[in-house]
């Protein structure tokens, strides 16, 4: 299995380097986070907002940006076009599930992103006074684990949405809508602590906060002890549910799949 991943990874690396201009596009998709940060800063100038100082907002959005890049997924687009254009058929003949290729490609592209994201985020954090990162070994470990969980959650849910292409030609609409929901509810536009309390109570049981907000809250030392443990349980449960759903839906879809064209 490992060797297969290395092979997939090599191909993906070559493709990523070839299309490095595309990196520009995903960098732009982060501009909204910067805009939101600026607006939050405009109101935190006169004092902390709901427990967030200006430095806290900077920390939140910088760590959030890193997490967002670590959990960026786009396999749904790939799957959608592969199904619509009939390119999926040859992939099905291979002795390995096409999802593995997507996973390898995702990791490779990610490593290239980090070459840009980590230095920028670190620099911004360094020049901001009083940033509130809590970097104890335990916290760092919890952060890493939560990001891994967030990645599984993001990747699998995205793949699940992409599989809609087996039944409808409007998948791109669903992908965009799902992205919109994720944008708001995962904490990309604002820390969930800024949401109305009633909303927070509900969100806590949904998968979305565990795609971003949860990891950032850990890094900032805002979730601890029992609360953190509970968070991990919910995250793990959702990751398992979504992964199993991908597996079940795939089995059903493949049985009724008939290629278009090619």
């Amino acid at each position: 299995m490992w060797r297969k991943y290395v092979a997939f990874g090599r191909v993906a690396w070559a493709l990523t380097v070839e299309y490095r201009a595309e990196i520009l596009i995903w960098m732009m998709s982060s501009i909204l986070m910067v805009i939101m940060l600026l607006v939050w800063l405009s109101i935190s100038r006169d004092g902390a907002v709901n427990g967030f100082s200006s430095a806290d907002f900077v920390t939140y959005f910088m760590v959030g940006w890193v997490v967002r890049n670590l959990t960026a997924v786009w396999s749904s687009w790939e799957l959608d076009s592969a199904i619509r254009e009939g390119r999926l058929s040859p992939l099905l003949l291979r002795p390995i599930h096409p999802i593995h290729n997507e996973i390898a490609a995702n990791w490779v592209e990610k490593s290239l992103r980090l070459l840009i994201v980590i230095p920028v985020a670190t620099a911004v954090m360094l020049i901001t006074p009083n940033t509130s990162l809590v970097l104890t070994p335990l916290n760092a470990l919890a952060f890493a684990a939560s990001v891994a969980g967030a990645w599984v959650l993001c990747f699998m849910s995205d793949y699940l949405v992409g599989m809609l292409a087996f039944w409808t030609t409007q998948t791109s609409g669903f992908i965009q809508a799902f992205y919109g929901i994720r944008l708001v509810l995962s904490g990309m536009i604002a820390p969930l602590a800024m949401f109305p309390p009633a909303m927070q109570d509900v969100l806590q049981w949904l998968p979305f906060p565990y795609m971003l907000n949860f990891s950032v809250a850990i890094a900032m030392g805002r979730v601890q002890g029992q609360e953190m443990l509970l968070g991990f349980v919910v995250q793990l449960a959702w990751a398992a549910i979504v992964t199993i759903a991908v597996w079940l839906v795939w089995k059903r879809a493949i049985r009724s799949y008939s290629a278009v064209g090619a």
Partner: protein, 261 residues
């Protein structure tokens, strides 16, 4: 009278095309309304923590959100489809068919296709505006509406000119898609009053990418507090940008040599 008649024809043929793909049309319209909701939420959220954003109250800021959504609708309706087509035509060499027609090439290239799902965004924007006015118990005077309509036209001309500039660049550069992406990303600032941002960023949003004149200035007008300086600058900017983009287009067309053989 030729041009209005052609415009009506373009609208009709685009409509027929939309009707061909009805599910897609409905999906896009629903998606437009959904994104309007996301925009609304992303601004309203700030007001759970503060009373004012850059000196604008919740209801006043909603007027800006409404305008932002409407302009997004216009972009969807007219600019996005035509500019995408221009970029594609330049790449594939089919621009020849546009240039050899006996009408103004800019007119034909930028207004040929309409994507009616953009109307959903515009409707959503209207709903948000009415909602905001209702909450304020405010009815704009006819003078305010008149100034607003003028400034809204200026705003649309500015947006149109920027998109035309981006499309024109495709005559020299292939990867203009990135540029329209960049515009869309920076345009996201237009959902907030420009006074929210300070320092260099506000200056950039006023003069480099004049987002201020797209939403904030027309919103001031309909709220009955337009500043003379902004009105004059907005109008001047619209005229200058339009003239420049039209000139740039003509230059590009003159130096255009087809892509194929």
């Amino acid at each position: 009278m030729r041009y209005p008649r052609l415009l009506a024809l373009f609208a009709k043929s685009s409509l027929l095309m939309e009707l061909e793909y009805r599910t897609n049309f409905i999906a896009q319209a629903v998606l437009g309304a959904f994104w309007a909701g996301v925009t609304f939420f992303s601004v309203a959220l700030f007001f759970t923590q503060t009373d004012a954003l850059g000196g604008w109250t919740y209801e006043q800021a909603l007027v800006i959100v409404a305008l932002f959504t409407m302009i997004q609708g216009v972009i969807q309706l007219v600019l996005q489809p035509n500019v995408t087509k221009i970029i594609q035509m330049v790449r594939e060499g089919t621009m020849d068919f546009v240039l050899t027609k006996p009408i103004d090439s800019q007119f034909l290239a930028t207004l040929r296709y309409l994507r009616y799902s953009g109307l959903a965004d515009m409707a959503a924007g209207l709903v948000i505006m009415v909602f905001a006015f209702n909450r304020m118990n405010y009815t704009p005077s006819s003078a305010a509406i008149a100034v607003f309509l003028v400034l809204l036209s200026a705003s649309l001309v500015i947006v149109y000119s920027i998109w035309l500039l981006m499309a024109t660049l495709s005559f020299w550069f292939v990867k203009v898609n990135n540029l329209t992406e960049l515009f869309n990303s920076l345009f996201d600032t237009a959902r907030f009053p420009v006074s929210t941002f300070n320092g260099l960023i506000r200056i950039a949003l006023t003069f480099v990418l004049p987002v201020a004149f797209m939403t904030t200035v027309p919103a001031e007008a309909i709220l009955g507090r337009p500043s003379a300086a902004n009105v004059v600058t907005g109008l001047a900017l619209a005229v200058v940008l339009f003239a420049f983009s039209a000139w740039f287009w003509r230059r590009a067309v003159l130096s255009y040599s087809s892509a194929s053989s």
